[in-house]
Symmetry: C2
Subunit: 333 residues, 2 copies
């Protein structure tokens, strides 16, 4: 049977979005706050109900929706071959979880979804973003590329030799937790001292001057000396991390998204580029950085891209139906 | 036509080994010092002649040898899709080359070999070692594993989701050049300050007490306090680098070789393991480290493994013909 409809989920710590799409574009999109009470099955049941509600809204028979792509915050763990979430901002029973109204240690997401859907692909949000950028964004069909997000957290999606990397539990790309500065006091949410995220995540950059990261980058660009020092140092750490990944994976191009890069990427890029190209020319020569192409829509488009039939892609590339504000966006308001 | 014979090359900075093997095992092996004079074609011509000489010695018609696996020091660069070497210890025309009797910038290895052979697979020595360990060594058929060598240099071979990573020029795995200690004065052969190889390669560990690295590790195990501090610190840096790779690639197992590990791995392993498992449990839980299985023969077996017909493998796994000292080893003496 031909796939007539596909579903997409964007699962975040605070919000979930469910989309149903046909071969010509998205048909309906519904959002809800992420459930955090009840049994560990609650999230799987919530997203199933939300996808079914999106079907109803789109006028699509629920049974015709069998294929679902999921872009979720991680990390993941495999349970009998199915993907479970061990996400500190949803599961309250983990070592580094904030205060949450549950004691979940693992959310059996794929297991519960399998009761209602035939084909499910679940990827970390940076992996989904990478797939989106390779399918519809700034690095279409590029075999050796890395997606990086610089936002409240730092994460990566990795593609080498034309293949997207998953790893033993689907967690490849957690390079935000690579150790960078052994002398640093900066502590990451994961407990690490001096990892990349501790050094430069939006949260931690802002903390250094008691203002928001956005204000620091804006002040830096306006010429404020203290803010500039912090902003340039952050760009250098980010560049050194990209250099590390270029040396480890022999990549050709970095595609960068996330709120910090969306607003300040143009200003930050030269500092980052310099850190990459000042080392190991055999590996870094010609390595480039480009801004992400899909930004605000990357999670939804990423989740769709994970399961989109190959035959739909040329038409979607031409028509870019995800840009149409109706019905894709109005339901999310 | 069935493949009757395969060739293998181990190309190092000082020595080259050429092997010819049939379905039951190696038939001849010849070594020679690596040529470093003449035109940039000289190395390709040397290895071709050496493979032909190995054919003659094995009584194999030269024309029947069409398939050659090459394990070579890197880095590589692609020239019109063929692999060239830009190896500082052979090419005298590079920025960080030592004093050498040539001004080569690129060695067109594959281009020259293509004039005589039909199928050539050239891999970095750590990638070849990884393939050897996955085919005949300590991590047979393991989908998510990393080979690491700790010797005069540090390098890695990476396998994720059952696929060995190459990268845009075949240089994936140069993680010895990842930046680890920003405050360090230790300088790497590549020019980096504070990268992994600067911190812990055999060369650099030894330099800290003005003795050989071997002596430092031996003294450390004998209870010498100054040596012990250096050795433990080196093990910790190595462990942090493996942690970084585990976080980036979500690997399951590290297989470790190289002269430092062969002699001192048992003593070093607990320090390394502790650095890995003390961080980010979702990614590091259950990650293990094992010693390489093929050690002294890893380059030859690696080069053979790169091109070995799948049908030969079960028999080679059983008979382990590479362990037979005749004729495999006598020619190398």
């Amino acid at each position: 049977m031909n796939t007539l409809y596909i579903g997409a989920l964007d699962i975040g710590g605070t919000k979930i979005a469910a989309t149903v799409a046909g071969c010509e574009g998205p048909l309906a999109r519904i959002t809800q706050p992420t459930v955090k009470t009840g049994s560990p099955r609650a999230l799987g049941e919530q997203v199933t109900a939300l996808l079914h509600a999106a079907c109803d809204q789109a006028g699509v028979e629920r049974e015709l929706l069998q294929t679902v792509g999921v872009c979720s915050c991680g990390p993941f763990v495999k349970i009998d071959g199915t993907v479970g979430l061990v996400t500190p901002n949803i599961c309250g029973g983990l070592k580094y979880s904030p205060d949450l109204p549950n004691d979940w240690k693992i959310i059996p997401l794929e297991q519960v979804m399998r009761e209602s859907f035939g084909k499910i692909v679940i990827e970390n949000d940076c992996v989904a973003a990478l797939v989106a950028e390779r399918t519809f964004g700034a690095v279409q069909d590029e075999p050796d590329c890395i997606y990086a997000t610089w936002s409240t957290g730092i994460g990566f999606g990795l593609c080498v030799d034309g293949r997207v990397l998953r790893g033993k539990h689907g967690n490849a790309g957690h390079g935000g937790h690579m150790l960078m500065d052994w002398q640093s006091d900066a502590v990451c949410g994961c407990g690490n001292r001096g990892d990349l995220e501790a050094l430069i995540s939006g949260r931690n950059v802002g903390a250094r001057l008691g203002m928001s990261a956005a204000d620091i980058f804006t002040a830096a660009r306006g010429g404020d000396a203290a803010a500039r020092e912090i902003a340039v140092e952050a760009a250098q750490w980010f560049g050194r991390a990209l250099y590390n990944l270029a040396a480890i994976l022999d990549t050709r191009i970095f595609v960068i998204g996330g709120s910090v890069w969306i607003h300040h990427g143009e200003w930050l890029a030269p500092f980052v580029q310099k850190e990459i190209e000042s080392r190991l020319p055999a590996l870094t020569e010609g390595v480039s950085i480009v801004p992400a192409g899909l930004e605000g829509l990357v999670a939804d488009v990423g989740a769709l891209s994970l399961v989109m039939p190959a035959g739909w892609i040329p038409e979607w590339r031409k028509a870019q139906p995800w840009r149409d504000p109706q019905p894709w966006r109005k339901q999310g308001a």
